[in-house]
Symmetry: C2
Subunit: 149 residues, 2 copies
């Protein structure tokens, strides 16, 4: 999938890890769409989760990477968009399963909770793992049609 | 918060852990609203994540607990509802932070990824930890207003 466009976004508390993962992506041959933030000055994570949702829904990127302090808030924000399937990954195993079973298109990390090398490996595996389809396909389709009461 | 109503829901792959956590909640004095599933027969996790969203949005439960195999799919489904702030918790630390910073009202676990005792402790801490408010409040408010393009 090298050559594909991967969007990256973070808040201030995820900025450092976002920059590391962005560099990894560029070295691996991906085109990177950086949606910010661009410093450690305080910003609101929902704005960056929302920007990721818009980029994915508009087809500007095939997959996305999100980082905030815990990964929690920014992944909730991104999942508001029905086109996003964002996994809050704590390790390579959850990153792999999110691709195999959920066809996840966004991976979120918590800079204060995950080790740098664990995050780097989880991202690599996230991008390398195909969706299994089969019995999982109908469930994934339902994720875009879940009603918002 | 004993006496409050906590909703629980899972798919077949999360049924066993859901039953354990339900029992813990009942012993701790909570009222439990069980949204299913009620066996290990195959079902679709999005249906149960959606049911949780509807229960939370309708005020039928103050907080919720979700379980599927990885916790990923069911937490994505629940977060489609703008009234839900669901954390995929891998440990007590992420459960605590989700309450302090994100005012999370739903905690999701992956039965195949988390140890039973880790999940039991994470749920206990989730329910015992108050939201910090302050600078976090405006960001949490944005999570209910994130646009769905």
């Amino acid at each position: 999938m090298a050559g594909a466009t991967i969007a990256v976004a973070s808040d201030h508390a995820g900025f450092d890890l976002k920059e590391i993962l962005k560099s990894d992506l560029q070295h691996a041959g991906y085109a990177v769409l950086d949606l910010g933030t661009n410093s450690t000055a305080s910003v609101d994570y929902p704005d960056f989760g929302e920007a990721m949702g818009e980029a994915i829904a508009a087809g500007k990127a095939e997959k996305g990477v999100l980082v905030c302090g815990s990964g929690i808030g920014i992944s909730i924000a991104a999942n508001r968009n029905p086109e996003v399937r964002a996994v809050l990954a704590h390790d390579a195993t959850s990153a792999r399963l999110s691709r195999e079973h959920n066809d996840a298109n966004v991976v979120a990390f918590g800079q204060r909770l995950i080790g740098v090398e664990v995050a780097r490996e989880a991202l690599k595996i996230f991008l390398a793992t195909p969706f299994e389809g089969g019995r999982h396909a109908a469930r994934v389709a339902k994720l875009s049609g879940v009603s918002k009461s």
